[in-house]
């Protein structure tokens, strides 16, 4: 513990990141450049999210880290251990008990509260990137609110697939101003972005950008009048807990094409099973599972 400054980064770096976060909160959806540091993990593993988390952590925090909704995957476990080791903060897997949640590509099923901060890991912060490769041009487009191109992408989806097939990283407009990439969360989670009581922070380490949604921001998913936005999920119930309203992962269970759908939010699923809910394939909940 004594070998590291609290939460790994030095105090000057954390101040720099906090300034970027404050600016991002003041201009919802605007990508604030910051001097991203090298972290002891490869780019693409959440270096942006980790730096934002490090800048926000206080010793009293209780940290939860999820990767695609799961608390027990490699990325989540290693980042959780990283902060246990370098910050000595308490950790939890329960959404309700966490004060700071770092997430990769999901928003927890349980509604967040005003006492929580949600930190997203962002691979590519620029929603216009794949349509317009020039950074100078995309910045100008943001500055001048020229967002017609975003709809060209959705138009292409419909013309090719009949519906808007973009299923994740679905572009949103924040407070009627900036178009923002919500990180690769499934579009099922898009409605949760809007009017959320928690602070939502987005960190992109390799691209050196931080952006944010202050509590209760208005976030609208882009769509066409005759092809409205639809939050979609697999058409099934969770096989373990029976939930019909949570986002599901498809799991292959044998090599004969057998598959089940289970909650992607492991804590949500565990809590439901603990409360006695049981899905088609689920075993009764035992405390040892947890």
């Amino acid at each position: 513990m004594s070998e590291y400054n609290f939460a790994y980064l030095d105090e000057e770096t954390k101040r720099m990141i906090r300034r970027a976060i404050l600016k991002a909160l003041a201009i919802p959806g605007y990508q604030v450049p910051f001097a991203s540091r090298e972290m002891p993990m490869p780019y693409g593993w959440g270096t942006g999210g980790v730096q934002v988390t490090a800048a926000c952590l206080i010793p009293e925090d209780r940290l939860k880290v999820i990767d695609q909704g799961a608390d027990d995957t490699t990325n989540a476990v290693s980042i959780r251990q990283f902060f246990e080791k370098t910050a000595g903060v308490a950790v939890t897997e329960e959404t309700a008990r966490a004060s700071l949640i770092q997430t990769r590509h999901r928003i927890p099923e349980m509604p967040l509260t005003e006492d929580q901060i949600l930190v997203y890991q962002v691979p590519i912060p620029e929603p216009l990137r794949f349509l317009e490769p020039r950074e100078t041009e995309t910045r100008k487009m943001h500055a001048l609110e020229e967002y017609g191109l975003m709809h060209v992408k959705l138009y292409e989806d419909i013309s090719r697939h009949g519906t808007i097939s973009t299923a994740y990283a679905y572009p949103v407009r924040v407070e009627g101003r900036y178009v923002m990439d919500p990180s690769p969360i499934p579009k099922f989670d898009n409605p949760k972005l809007s009017d959320c009581p928690a602070i939502q922070l987005f960190g992109a380490g390799r691209e050196q950008r931080i952006y944010a949604l202050p509590p209760y921001s208005r976030v609208v998913s882009l769509d066409f009048e005759d092809h409205p936005f639809e939050a979609s999920k697999a058409d099934a119930d969770c096989a373990l807990c029976g939930a019909g309203d949570s986002y599901l992962d498809e799991v292959i269970v044998d090599d004969a094409g057998g598959r089940i759908f289970v909650c992607s939010d492991t804590d949500h699923c565990r809590a439901r099973r603990a409360a006695g809910h049981l899905g088609a394939e689920g075993a009764p909940y035992e405390e040892a599972d947890a």
């Binding site: 349509l131 017609g148 191109l149 138009y155 292409e156």
Partner: protein
């Protein structure tokens, strides 16, 4: 009546070298102005200055806007100028790859300008895209194909559709028929002439091909070494060239 575009003493220098110099003319509504000259004579530089792609070092370019009357395009703010580029103006590049989004379907290419000014109804956008593809003689079933699957002539026609869909008043064309074979050129010229007359477009066409200006342009400017050396009605300049260089240019056209 006020001219649509008033150009006064425009000059652009590349260091000590002259791009174009002392160019002045008026473009009236519904008029097509041709600019001819050899490679390096400053045609493209002039077009870039007029269309706001490049800032001229001297002179003014005054455009008669729809809502606020004549305005100096250099004094406009950047959002205003970019708005003009998307609505009232159109720019047809010599190479369709410069003017099209090659990764986006034909329909998306045509619809982009509509979406840029706020169209948000997929069915309407698509219907207008199909309509415009028909007007430039591209079959409606190609609407979902990417421009990479199109021939050079089709790409050029698609670029024209993409530019004209917003109902512009002023079109800048840089060698619109360059790189196309003669039969395709002829059809494209025929199409362009029809569209220009039908929509009452004003246009500035830069080309080195005298046949193009003969067919399309009402008036003609001949450029050499960055300066306009002769200007007048197209037929007058081509049939009775006064300047030595123009005489050379006219006599250089190969007769079949």
């Amino acid at each position: 009546m006020t001219p649509l575009l008033q150009v006064r003493d425009v000059a652009k220098f590349y260091g000590p070298r002259v791009g174009c110099e002392a160019v002045s003319f008026d473009l009236w509504p519904g008029e097509v102005m041709g600019v001819v000259g050899e490679s390096g004579s400053g045609k493209s530089t002039l077009l870039a200055c007029l269309s706001g792609q490049m800032a001229p070092d001297q002179g003014v370019v005054i455009y008669d806007t729809r809502d606020r009357g004549p305005m100096d395009t250099r004094a406009m703010s950047e959002p205003e100028r970019r708005m003009l580029m998307r609505t009232d103006w159109a720019l047809v590049h010599q190479n369709p790859r410069d003017g099209l989004r090659m990764g986006v379907s034909a329909g998306g290419n045509v619809g982009e300008r509509l979406m840029a000014v706020g169209a948000r109804h997929y069915g309407d956008i698509r219907a207008r895209a199909v309509d415009w593809l028909g007007r430039v003689e591209i079959a409606a079933e190609r609407v979902d194909d990417r421009p990479t699957a199109f021939s050079g002539g089709m790409q050029q026609r698609l670029q024209i559709a993409r530019n004209l869909v917003s109902g512009p008043r002023l079109v800048f064309m840089d060698e619109p028929t360059g790189g196309l074979d003669v039969s395709v050129q002829a059809r494209l010229l025929d199409l362009l002439r029809g569209l220009v007359r039908e929509m009452g477009l004003s246009a500035v066409i830069v080309t080195h091909d005298l046949a193009v200006v003969r067919l399309l342009a009402d008036r003609l400017m001949v450029m050499k070494d960055g300066r306009v050396i002769e200007a007048g009605l197209t037929d007058q300049v081509l049939d009775d060239p006064q300047h030595g260089y123009t005489q050379l240019l006219v006599s250089s056209v190969l007769q079949v």
